[in-house]
Amino acid sequence: MSTTPAVHENPAALALARRHRFQWWEVLPWLLALGFYFAFPRYLGFGTELLITVLFAISLDLALGYAGIITLGHAAFFGAGAYTVGMLAKHEIWTEPISGLVLAAIVAGAAGFLSGLVLLRTVGLTLLMLTLCTMGFLEEIANMAAEVTGGFDGLDSLPIKPIFGKFEFDVLYSSTQYLYVLGVLLVCFVFVRTLIYSPYGHSLTGIRENTLRMHAVGAPVSKRLIVCYTISAALAGVAGALWAQANAYVNLSTLGLDRAATVLIILVLGGYGRLYGAFLGAVAYMVLSHFLSKAYPTAWQLGLGLLLVAIALFAQGGILGVADRLRKRFGKERKTP
């Protein structure tokens, strides 16, 4: 009955003490991304879009996958970031890209904080509707304030300064954008990864798993959720800002339901609340839609829809969920020969 050996040898204690450590395979996505740069120089525009989508999906995963904040309006913050960079550049107020990202994060984070103060008092369907409203509200502002936002046409030919004053963005040949976005994604990813393995991240999971119990253990639930929503919005804003910088334009599509729904589908496809689901989901979605739209130009979304139905019915947890289950089954078989 001595407690000391149990503490250090218990598999649960060891697993918890070590779960934040980097695994060897975690370097793979980054190696693949670098490999893509050298292997497909003609597809770097596509690659840049993919990496930005991954970052956007990661920001959503923090709010939806970890804290359980059900939102259908996350493009509000993507758009807030994109328009921040776009308007500052178009009106020649601020064109330096890296500090532009910081400004975009601040603006989008502020939008997340202010809307979060109100809508995080609700849950479920009401919350879903309010997140949609927030996005619709911002989209309509961007549409109406045409003098500063360009209205329906958006803002194009944004003058963005070279990175570190040296590496020029080229809209036609995206090699600079690709590496720049990859670098920003890496920094943001490491930040989110640190966050979710921290005690704070653990408490977010607790809120998702049982909000009432979190209240009963004395956690300031709404404060934690607002902080999480703000961080998530700021990261979505960075993704939007990257999009505006890489494409040198910004338009209403950055704020639309289409974008918000797509990133949600990506997260469901890859597996939410699993960190790497954003990577797998984005790759799977973009590759699938690429080939499906080539094979069935008129009805390619049908294929995607059927896949989603199949995932919702048989594979909750997405691609990573299925992988987890297979590994568990396989692992058990190995243990008992």
Partner: protein, 252 residues
Amino acid sequence: MTALIETKSLNKHFGALHATRDVTFALEEGARHALIGPNGAGKTTFINLLTGVLAPSDGTVLFKGQDITRVEQAERVKLGIARTFQINRLFRGLSVLENVYMSIAERVGAAPAMLKPAGKRSDVIEEAMELLTRLKLADVAHKAIPELPYGRQRLVELAITLGLKPQALLLDEPAAGVPSAESHIILDAIDALPKNIGVLIIDHDMDLVFRFAKKITVLVRGALFAEGTPKEIGANPDVRAVYLGQATTHGA
């Protein structure tokens, strides 16, 4: 003895339903106190009023003499009032250890930290493992909640709350739904609690109540009906008429 939690003419209305009627009550330090009453007597509502889940319609709640009627639930937990739930409220997707980590991290103030891994708070992990060892849960610490039999899930429910090191512990039917063969584990765990903390237990299981309690309060239709030692309550003909008669024949 000083009173940990006191209520003074506490009332709660839900529309036309008068769920708590003028209840004046005290939970003493070190008390082993039971709250019994027929179904719908307002026992769980009363717990919810003590913990701050519900705000009373009128009356006051005091903790160690300080008025906490308007104090939020999370603040009351920090003061030392903790409860378990009648129906398990666990973090089902997490391991048993991670469940207990949750409450200990809140109590010791580790939870708001964002940039340090949770696994590096070895003080929290060690305390959680000690608690689980005490409740004989160490062997299942790595398991997810749905993998446990209900009786042991009930112990996790208790473990999360004990991780808060409460001074006043409110147990809402701790053995509810547990097969009688396993209920002794719950009872042993309750018996082993530190002597100085005040425990209030709600239960329908008269064996458990009469074994555990030094004092019993009977609630009927939201109002205080009787209060006394188990012997007095067992011998009280009115109590037997409204309640005990329907259950078992204790203390006759």
